[in-house]
Symmetry: C2
């Protein structure tokens, strides 16, 4: 398949590499936005865009509409998709594309990390029947985990990913800060972090919950809250997470592991 | 070494198995507390406790002092230690033991999961010089990751573990709830969860942070916050975690992966 990728940030660059490895012909196009203060769109947007079956826009959500407006007219006969979890498919509509869709690979992409697309779930949306087959073929050339979702469902999925990935990682960051305070390297926590992730392959997160909050150990909760004095935001986070753990388990009325 | 383990909950039972596999002679002792409403201590506390070099108390923090008071006089010549992250070593003092200490294996223990102690860091405390060597030998018979910490340091360590494990797992639970709402199984999130944990083996959590908050994508933040309407506690958690991510990255003034 001939593919233009507009936007070569973390998602775009990993996706480009994976698609090329899967045998597709990929043209990478920078998509700097004038309004981002990072300079005007480069040469390829001034009337030149390679012929392609599919064009993938992979830019910051805030620049998605502007990028679509500028680039779609340069290759209107292609199927145009974006890679954003939270953006509606409609952000691409009314800009002259013959067909539009969404191609959302759910993963945490960093420049420093290789990512194996076989491990990634890809979530698709495409109202055009003919293009659906093409989009699914493309996704399946990268991974077996392919799902069709509406824009509304995908918005919820993205919230789930923020909890399951972004907030998890921030918990790691808060953990690292506390360890620094007692002169311990973050590495001491890695076995615990790994086991916490491995556990939920076997148990549901509710079953896997351990710690003072789920045990109802209010003495420890109070003592730990006090240790975070000096950082009211972290104290509040500690409180609310503990509260939410207890409420979740009360609602579930389940036996939990302690 | 001859060891009595008083309390055979999640920590005690896993520890007992590991110590036996390492060749130690272990006697397991139930330690039900009268004040817990779970019945009085059983037979072994009525004046009978095997002779031992070491006695390990592994009960809920709230019952630690009571358990120590009842059981220490039954075997006063042993070194007595507890396994609690947040409890001071002094909870064991003044109860007649010839020596006291702490033996805190930092892991999330559930009955359903085998745990490899080789992967676990053990944190020790013991003011008695002669017993320090014995305690370190014991810990090293289970794992190479052995650290000496004061009670104060260990209290902070336990807060770090709550962030790095308990709160992380609760983020998984919140994630699962959101997925349920759109009819998706928790499994779709596992590749992302695994990669999130793997990343911090290579990058610091700050470098590894991705998502709307660290990107400063306030449109997405607002939209996702609105999707959580109907659950004010989760909305507040969403807000505070996002705020904390942004503040952490402003303080660090670091380049972050997006």
């Amino acid at each position: 398949m001939r593919i233009n990728i507009i936007g070569i940030g973390n998602v775009g660059s990993h996706l480009s590499r994976a698609l090329q490895e899967a045998g597709h012909e990929v043209t990478e196009v920078r998509a700097r936005s004038a309004s981002s203060g990072e300079g005007a769109p480069d040469g390829s947007s001034k009337g030149v865009l390679s012929e392609a079956d599919l064009c993938i826009i992979s830019v910051k959500d805030a620049f998605l509409e502007e990028t679509a407006r500028r680039f779609i007219p340069l290759c209107p006969n292609a199927l145009w998709v974006h890679t954003a979890g939270t953006m509606d498919i409609d952000v691409l509509s009314g800009k002259g594309a013959s067909a539009i869709g969404v191609f959302y690979p759910m993963q945490t992409f960093s420049k420093e990390r290789e990512v194996n697309f076989r491990d990634i779930a890809i979530f698709l949306e495409c109202p055009d029947e003919a293009c659906r087959a093409m989009l699914e073929r493309l996704a399946r050339s990268l991974t077996e985990k392919v799902y069709w979702l509406s824009s509304t469902q995908r918005r919820h999925l993205h919230v789930a990913a923020v909890f399951g990935c972004n907030f998890v990682n921030h918990c790691y960051a808060l953990c690292e800060d506390v360890l620094k305070g007692i002169g311990l390297p973050f590495d001491v926590m890695l076995p615990l972090i790994d086991e916490t992730a491995r556990k939920v392959h076997q148990l549901s997160p509710r079953q896997a919950q351990t710690g003072p909050a789920v045990r109802g150990d209010d003495n420890v909760r109070t003592a730990q809250w006090q240790l975070l004095a000096g950082n009211p935001l972290r104290q509040t986070i500690y409180d609310l997470m503990s509260e939410s753990i207890q409420r979740t388990h009360k609602e579930a009325g389940q036996e939990t592991a302690h």
